[in-house]
Symmetry: D3
């Protein structure tokens, strides 16, 4: 495995830049989407959340590369991202047609589970501005070459948004590598997103093309199997009883196939009920495999 | 002008059936869309609102013909329509792709004005299930022939949803006429909806094709000019000082051109501020022109 | 035990019709009734809840037979039942006197328990319209003979509302049996309701008179003892440690005494804390006794 | 007219004691009772409000004589009255039957008007504890003789609650007069309350029996006519155009008939819309008739 | 140990009088202080809470001796204390300067923990009216001698507010002893309050000066060590595994040193997570040591 | 009068930098501070609001120079300023003592008026971090010399916070002038703030010392008289009927006395009721006096 050389902070405008969608998240609180009369508004997105967390929990300077339709919904996402502290210097605003036929902003309706009832999400993210991003549009040299970035992050959700988004990720990762920026990639496999644009086969083809450019690969057990095509032996259908040794063997095969990857990180969740989850995490680096088991913790429903 | 012969109630399952979209309406209450953290959920749609109002304010039996994507957002619209008391017997549920690429439910973000700040709406209704309705899909003979309906209502918003929706309206209106059901049509011109599918010219062509099938034509001054192509002389750009006599002349030309229309109805609103509006209404029938001026009334912000 | 012959769906307007009270339920959320400043409004009632659940969870067509005082409180119950999807075709509206001396609508104030503090309810249901229902008022032949119903449900709460309600239940059950509709009855013993109208003795007399007309008898351990007069040996005062074998013996005695009953169903709840309950359920039919033990589940506080 | 001699504060436990009902007021905020899902809880009652206002706006020491059913609803009224600062030393707590057949607490559902839509109230106050108060139950000698009170207030709402409440008011007023406490009485005519217990004739008989014991008589134009039987000439049906001179003539007749009354006070409201009201007030004392016209003011909807 | 002789209720105006600060408590509900947009308002204070609990949970008559700045914040605390039912007869209102430079009211921002995240509080109580109380200001002879009190309570939070508050506590306790009123004192050690006025040494000096006047001494393990200077052997840093026998030995030393103390009471809490706590309590009296172990209970987050 | 030469945008990091306090604003919505149970949280401050408005309404880049105590209240202000989009690059975080004796964050409780009841505010801003700012602490050369700023704004509220804040304003304004940055100053006289530190005389002395450094002087009629010592002839006590000509004469005297001032701007508000205000505004520049009268507009209660 390779060793990570992170640029010194004093030379960089940004600790991290993420590339991905930012959706308006509508949350019915203690109620259910299909019978509520009230929604709470948040913003969120797999790749964006990394930038937001680094800013508000760890005080780092981060920015998001994304696109939004220029209507009040997009401006609400702007307001939420302002509160999130993530720089919008690289956000592209696309004119709205007044209807949502040509371009939209992504929406994500999410409800909490309770006891034996699992959490439920319903994303409404077709035809979004970010899914229409194409190579050649973002000035990556400005970002990585002039502004300078310590770490670039993107992932498998962004790459599943359309035919063109993996190409945007590819040019971003190539530019990052050229500039000496660390690249992390969260496999984050979502079957529904891939279904209409080639399914699991397309997901694996896409991710395998990007993997050689990745310094830090992130994924849970399902991601490595479904999104990257590795098999974990002894894994049952529900992934509920993941055998650590089998998982370790798989990681070793990933390391062997992609020697340029410097760190492989994963979280292992066992959901006892919707409100009580066990979490483990595991990171494999050049030197050794670190693994520690958390005690029984409660998943915060409020984050 | 023609005379309206409405079927007796005892022979009919429905007092009124509407054809149109039902959107989830998200309303930030006293706040603004672009800075709120809370939305109140309602359902609404130009043609649907007629069916809902007749049911809950006047106790009539009404139904809606529409289509919804089968996801929790659609099921919330179902829950809201249940509360609205409008029968969902003719609602078509279309399978959802988990993403919103192929089919969606319409969303309508609306905020109140205040004082000199006007109300603001942002609809997100592209690619909806109802916009994909095509002729031959709805069993109009069941509705008008077997279930039997006293009054059918649709309008210019539904007809602007796509290339196919005016054809659905046409087959519905023809079936209604065959069955002796009264047909009303609200011109309801929305420039943004028509823009991408032919603009004002297409709107006029569409509405002019449907007009001979209409018994009761509804519209404000802008509707008759923009959506049907009649001119009101002496009307300034803002329609703020509508001269009653000029408007009357235009109505007479409409009556002459479409002799089968039995009633022409309009509302004349003068918005002094976002919270203080004057309303007049005017109905022209075969026998006479009735017109009464309301006193100064307050527009309910809650409706 | 008898076998249940349920009418085919195609011949019936309703999958189920319930007879019972529908109350406005006022719920202080996370707070307590006696110190709150806010209530959430719901509708509910033992017999009605069966009709609502079948409609909204299982998609069946259901209706409620009840009576309401015609004031804004009753109209709020109407609005809530519309949302609940239960047909109000058989709801009787009784004129209100402006004060609540002659007729009222039932109110049910309920608060959640927490940890060692149990849930608390306070019903305010005296002098309600439904408690004043008398035999001869409801047109049961229209319901069971013309509209046709697959299953009729009522229970021990409705029969405890007044001297006259058991007589209404009796005429309904007789009409249902004549029409071949299945009859279910939930014993649901509430000491406070019976206290003023004859107590446990009257409850047993009432329920024993109705039992021969019941196809499906529902009750927990307390119901069979208090409301029907059967004894379960080895049952302690709190019913907390119900011995399954003793319960089974009691059911066998019920079966023997009422051979026309086709199914005896019960739920066995053990409340560990206000938020953590164990549930078992048990159904005894002609062929066999089915019993399965649920795993530890969480009782939804939101339902 | 008589002169008022108010006891010095240093000799009295209370500045004012009121006799009347305290209801739980449920208020849907900006929404309507019949479609809301949320209520705000307040306490209120015509006679009680006087005691609460004197305490919280003017810092006087006041107490309420009333009765409540001892259940969580009554305890919520207790909590609200604690916040209101009115002493509950003379509140009688009546055991609850768990159902509300024998005794209840009064509820008052109220909604705001808006523009041309008037405010709407629905009281549910039959069978309340306070309506069952009977003479001989309250220890008036303790209140007026030992604790000592400067001013006693009751009114026509309390006296319309049942056959027995005017008798309670009578014994209270007689005890107050014996002790030298000033007595005020708000006529406050409510047709719905009197309807079932003798109507307007009974109201007038009741009020005329109490009037000789009153030092300060309060009422608007409708109260003096309907509740006390005086006629105001030139008063139209809606009381919207009250002629001051005619009203003055009527007051003079009241003064003549009840010479022991020291002050006659009234408020004259002209509701332009639900949110814009004109108010005048008028007090006639021994010396002169004071009358001042307020400017156009807004009625606070929040109090 | 001494025996407690509590005055009979019939001779006393108050069951209990507390001396301490009452703060406005601002609580973000399910959210966190640093990101919320909404606060719920409550009142609270270590010594006051005893008076409030005795009134609302046990129906006793209680009063608070405190001081508040006379501004709308103080008046909100007044409104909250009215609801709390604690008499404000001895509350001193201090004129406000419009800015908060000379005198303020205490604020306490508190948020709940969740799972492994502990609860968080931020008090803003510098320069408060109550911290400026000085000896000679309160008329203790009126309170203990004329009004007469069964039990007086104060504690280590009040005594840490400033240099002068322990002197006020001292004069109060001396007056109470003279009048035969039982005195209880809750050690309640808060390092942050003592830090600027002498730290732990000053706390111990203060508490040791007051201890001989105390009849009932209350404290957890940390209080007896940090605030009073006793050592518990075998106590680890986190106090998480308190050995009962060691604690008992320490109590015996307290008893020996302060023979006038009649009862020593403590609560032993083991916080498993922020929402799941074990509680024990222990009281040592003249006759014996009573100790009972509670079962596993849930700490109410709402109280 | 002088002419304003504003630096070109391309040379500047900031369009505007403000110097002033940012308080947590707690707002009871439709209720009153002294009886509410809920507060909405906002941030605000006279000088800060200018920076926030320029950013969110006009899209300019702005920053705030201020100081905050580092506790959860301060971090909530940070979160609110992030949403406000104003850069916190120059915010000083001061360690908190856990109590609020040495340093605090400012709080501002504000309630809306209604009809004839005026709005009410209660600020609690003594001992704040920003009031303890002293000369020599802020690196003004970095701000004006290296980062470069087009416009600097501060005002009379900041200068009234303590003895030291006018000195900080002075050094800031001198540095701004040296760097060629435009300086604006809002007189904003608040009697309560000045009362304890020298009153109106001190305010006038302070403002007169700063005036020669000001390019744009802002103030209403009261500000020019009370805070700067100019008299407007014919101005009544309530300033309700400001005569335009008298006001103009005063402005001319200001211009004469401070020739370096380039613009004098004011707003003239006439509050008809708490919800209906007339506004005029007036700006006097070198070339001419511009004045326009607005129509009757509504003051937004939500801002």
């Amino acid at each position: 495995m390779a060793k990570l050389n992170i640029k010194p902070k004093r030379d960089c405008m940004w600790d991290l830049v993420s590339l991905g969608e930012v959706m308006l998240r509508l949350d019915p609180g203690d109620e259910r989407i299909s019978t509520t009369r009230h929604f709470r508004a948040w913003e969120g997105g797999g790749e964006y959340n990394v930038a937001r967390g680094l800013k508000r929990c760890f005080g780092m300077e981060t920015a998001i590369v994304t696109a939004l339709a220029d209507n009040p919904i997009g401006r609400l996402v702007e307001d939420l991202m302002l509160q999130g502290g993530v720089s919008q210097k690289y956000v592209r605003w696309v004119p709205y047609d007044g209807v949502g036929r040509t371009v939209r902003n992504g929406l994500n309706f999410t409800e909490r589970g309770f006891g034996i009832r699992p959490a439920l999400g319903c994303s409404d993210r077709g035809h979004t501005a970010v899914s229409q991003l194409r190579p050649g549009v973002i000035d990556w040299d400005q970002i990585f070459g002039k502004d300078v970035v310590r770490w670039f992050h993107t992932g498998g959700i962004f790459c599943a948004l359309s035919e063109s988004t993996p190409l945007v990720a590819l040019e971003a990762m190539e530019a990052a590598k050229r500039a000496g920026t660390i690249v992390s990639y969260d496999l984050n496999y979502r079957a529904s997103l891939w279904k209409a644009i080639g399914g699991k086969a397309k997901a694996q083809e896409t991710n395998r093309r990007l993997a050689p450019l990745v310094d830090v690969m992130i994924g849970n057990e399902e991601d490595f199997t479904a999104a990257l095509g590795f098999a974990v032996s002894g894994l049952d259908e529900q992934h509920s009883q993941l055998k650590a040794s089998s998982f370790k063997q798989m990681i070793e095969r990933v390391v062997k196939e992609y020697p340029s990857v410097g760190v492989i990180a994963t979280t292992l969740r066992n959901a006892r009920t919707a409100t009580l989850n066990d979490w483990e995490r595991c990171a494999t680096t050049m030197a050794s495999s670190t693994r520690r088991r958390f005690g029984r913790i409660w998943k915060s429903m409020i984050a």
